[in-house]
């Protein structure tokens, strides 16, 4: 079975020959792993089952002095957070789209590398990524506190903004369908450590209708829908399944009961993630990491699970802890390729 077929088996709610995996690392953690695996390229060494296509956070123009600008015009300071950065200033100063023009969703930079990457990793399951896929795009343009108050003060503006963002994404989804991809992986954090940032009422009023349109565009083309959404959002899973969600990430053990959720939803929803990045990976021993990884692999043996740390691994995680989970997932019985 190819990696692509193993993921398809899992998404179909069937029992896979082993638990597939797809693990992400921040630049700092990835650089240390790369050093360990050299001369082997990290992407080869990891043997991830998901081939990530497009760009999760978009493309940027370098403005110098650790500042970059995304295609939406938002400036990000990367002097501290080197992977994403922090928004500088506010593109939408007022609650209006009157003077704002959305960028071209069909910018070829999002699609140019897809054929080459697919040709190079033919056996992997292909996901086209759309990061900052709704709420996050809105707050990066408007400022998070402004946007959260706009839910009260300017509901028509919020609807219009989210609708435009969804339209932009749908145009990208439709273009991505011209390539041999398997799924679209959206990314949009809605949660806090406890509960939703905007609460369930506003989520249903503003976010849900646009998700429904975006997910429908993917399903109409016969592809799978993945979402990454950090925090305590499991109260939304039924709603999300109802509009066609196939796979949920990051499945954080600190904010949700991952065992009972997997039992409850197995066969209806696949979970990607699960390994503690807030506690075990940075603060546990390599033995702690091995124990938790084994537990997750046992839990996922009956399907509906793709192993991963519950976030891109941060720079504070010891190398031996990264190697501990990689060795276990790559040496599962049933995985004949490794």
């Amino acid at each position: 079975m190819t990696k692509r077929e193993v993921i398809q088996t899992v998404l179909a709610g069937k029992v896979p020959p082993y638990v597939p995996w797809s693990c992400g690392f921040t630049k700092e953690a990835g650089a240390r792993l790369q050093e360990h695996f050299k001369p082997l390229e990290l992407e080869e060494a990891l043997q991830n089952h998901l081939l990530k296509l497009g760009s999760d956070i978009g493309f940027f123009t370098d403005l110098g002095e650790n500042h970059v600008q995304d295609v939406f015009g938002v400036v990000w300071d990367r002097s501290i957070d080197k992977d994403i950065g922090n928004v500088v200033g506010c593109v939408l100063q007022d609650a209006t789209l009157l003077h704002y023009h959305f960028p071209d969703p069909l910018d070829m930079r999002f699609f140019a590398e897809i054929p080459v990457r697919i040709a190079h990793y033919t056996d992997r399951f292909r996901v086209f990524q759309i990061g900052f896929s709704l709420y996050e795009r809105a707050w990066s343009l408007r400022g998070i506190q402004n946007l959260l108050m706009d839910f009260y003060d300017h509901p028509a503006f919020v609807h219009a903004l989210l609708e435009e963002i969804a339209d932009y994404n749908i145009a990208q989804v439709q273009e991505a369908m011209n390539y041999d991809i398997d799924a679209v992986y959206f990314g949009d954090d809605w949660g806090q450590q406890r509960g939703l940032q905007m609460g369930p009422k506003f989520w249903r009023q503003f976010i849900y209708p646009e998700l429904k349109r975006m997910y429908s565009a993917v399903h109409t083309a016969g592809k799978y829908v993945f979402i990454h959404s950090c925090g305590d959002v499991d109260e939304l899973l039924e709603d999300l399944i109802g509009i066609g969600l196939d796979c949920f990430n990051p499945f954080q053990p600190e904010v949700m009961n991952i065992e009972s959720l997997l039992e409850h939803f197995r066969g209806r929803l696949t979970f990607h993630g699960g390994l503690s990045t807030q506690q075990t990976l940075p603060f546990g021993t390599d033995e702690d990491v091995r124990m938790e990884t084994k537990r997750l692999l046992d839990m996922g043996a009956r399907g509906s699970y793709i192993f991963a740390p519950a976030h891109d691994v941060e720079g504070d995680v010891p190398l031996e802890n990264m190697l501990a989970f990689l060795e276990l997932v790559q040496n599962q019985p049933g995985d004949r390729e490794n």
Partner: protein, 211 residues
Amino acid sequence: MSLLDDLLKSVINGDLNATQNQVRAALAKNIPPEKILADGLIAAMNEVGKLFENNEFFIPEMLVSARAMRGGLAILRPKLAAEDIQPIGKVVIGTAQGDMHDIGKNLVGMMLEGAGFEVIDLGVDVSPEKYVAAVKEHQPDLVGISALLTTTMPRMQDVLLALQAAGLRGTVKVMIGGAPLTAQYASDIGADIYAPDAASAAQRARQMIKA
């Protein structure tokens, strides 16, 4: 007193205009500013905190209530100053060095203000030296440090050590909070208070002042 009840409701509803009008009306009726503050604005934000803890309020509600409370307080502040009514305590807050995530810290600041504290916000990515300098300058009752990342959590302990080295640790309590933090971690590094969210940060700071 129904005027103060109305004021309380306006803050809870996040209605800035009504809040300011009712503060003006209460002052016009010669209700003591201290009472307007305690039974109107502070009582309302206390209720907002409870609603947040019960998952009835979320960040948008907290933000609009805090905006209303601040609007009311702006009108009340000169009167409080004229009568020499002091805040219940002074707090210096900021995010840990290297941490740029500030919405949690901002909410804590608003809730502390709503609980009657004077809040000095040092912003994001605050070094231990800056905390020490702020404690020297402002002589607060409490220092609050927030972190979202596991990578910046160790910088909290650096603040505690820097306060110790400057001979200031005994003069001030230290409260920490943020997504990856636990009560155990707070106790391990010797912080005085752990706050899991903005509402409990205000509540625990108030308990500390009363103790």
